[in-house]
Amino acid sequence: MENTSYDIKQLNEKIHQASSFVDILNMEINKVIVGQKYMVERLMIGLLAQGHVLLEGVPGLAKTLSIKSLSSAINARFSRIQFTPDLLPADVVGTMIYNQQKNEFVVRRGPIFANFILADEINRAPAKVQSALLEAMQERQVTIGDTTFKLDEPFLVLATQNPIEQEGTYTLPEAQVDRFMMKVVIGYPTKEEERHIIRQNLQPEGSVKINPVVDPQDILEARKLVRQVYMDEKIEQYIIDIVFATRNPEDYKLGKLKPLISYGGSPRASINLALASKAYAFMKRRGYVIPEDVRSICFDVMRHRIGLTYEAEAENVTSENILSEILNAVEVP
């Protein structure tokens, strides 16, 4: 253990107090978002762990509304970029325009200068636009002309991908997808949730307004605490085992997975799995990580980091199937 004098009890209490805003935030968001608790929870993990989220789901599942509500509840700036094949990098990051009156070039900032970005249908734009956004995500800064601008914190990119209508899309390369901390697959709401959605949308008072309940500064403070959440070396070993099992499944008595995996999780996968586990523990108001935390976010952190072979695709084996096998084979500490 890196610091034996670490007072978990004190930290636990601190986190218990500091994480109280999570419930308030959830309550406020739930005023407009019916169901989709899973997605909202993952957005919060991304927010707390400084990781961007890739959402995959059919249109109309309240992806935009969720992130809009989240930004409203945090009193943060929100911008939405609809990715299209004719979009240019300058349309995202901004450009220099000529001011005739002043006879000089001035910087015109793009929509990326916000706290919450919704990159809608990211796979519809060509590679150079995708990489411009992903570079900004990674560096958290943008260079326009000769000037470099730091992006405001908190900075969270929520990109969406439509699993249908793949024609004319530019699939994100593996290296780019790896930069997203999580890939969340959103499903349809339940019957009961759908009934609530209809009623809520048809009520005569109109749509409910979200009030700012959390300050961005609170989020930044919470981020610092998330990194302090205690992770035992047994949990670290568990994370390493899971990631290594995606690379060398035969070492974990999972030789049958070897022909199905073309490449396993990168070290970035281990980092993100650890960080997201800490954020999850924080949301559960704990000052330490338990194996449940790792398992809860494992699918979202790992699913886009496992390359499937042609054989796997031919047999309709998904990365989720592989991860299930791995989680059922790797011993829990």
């Binding site: 978990i8 205690y230 330490y288 449940e292 059922n328």
Partner: protein, 333 residues
Amino acid sequence: MKVNKNIFVYTLLGCLLATSQLFAQEQYQDYFKVKASPDTTKIRIGEPIRVALTAKVMIYALKGANLKVVFPNLPDSLNHIEIVERTQIDTTGSNEQQKLFKQIVTLTSFDSGRWEMPPMKFEVFSVTDGSYDSVFTEPFFIDVNTVAVDTTKAFKPIKELRSVGWNILDYWPYLLACLALSAAIVLYFVFWHKKRKPAVAAAPVKPAKPPYQLAMEQLELLEKEKTWNSDVKLYYTQLTDILRQYFEQQFHIAALEQTSAELMQNIKPVTVLNQQRDKLQTILTVADLAKFAKLQPSPQEHEDCLRKAIAVVEWTKPSAVATEQPAPNSTNS
């Protein structure tokens, strides 16, 4: 008379000197001898002639005897004669006095007539002093005759195909290949069978001792060793591992690969185990805190957890599983 005697002596000495000089010259002239000896000089069209080319060098004639003999460089075809084959130069006949070089050249001709094999040039170099000499072989004639055709007789019809009798020796490569293939198949099946055997044997993996007995022995050992005095984390890891192994062997629940929450969920269908869920919940919660949150439970709690673990194993021992009759006052402690 004295004058005549002197003349005679000088004449005799002169003769002797001249003779020895001539002898020496002859000796030096013969130090490099070459020869081309055909085995025959009369052939029918296309028949081979083996010509032995020999070069003999007397070593005493060359300073240092470090010599190099160059054989004639014959073209593939010359003067109606074809060079079919050349053997390697053979030096086996050499000894301390002489060096013998031998090469067999096979010739033939496809033109009838009398053809001359021209003189062939051999060269000898002394590596020691750089001296050089060359000698030619004697030319020889080859009579190439056509096959005599009796034109007075009529043309004979083309002969029928002759069938050759079956001989096992004609098919030995195929028989050998068949045998090798059969042997490979047999060996493959033998090894495959051997390889499969342990897997088949490993499937039941029945412990030498019944799970109940094994768990009780391990718990008693744990109690005796009192590991909690030295390493609390190790103690709780061992305690939960004993229980998880017991559940895996006794109830076929993959407990080692499940988190505490998952385990509590999965024991529900096992009635006899579910009856002990409160005790189990306490053990797992304290163990998780000790393992992952650096909690230092009191000595009372260590022993209490051990007692509870023994009670769970006692309650769920095979006889209890068979009868499945829960005692109402023994579910919780």
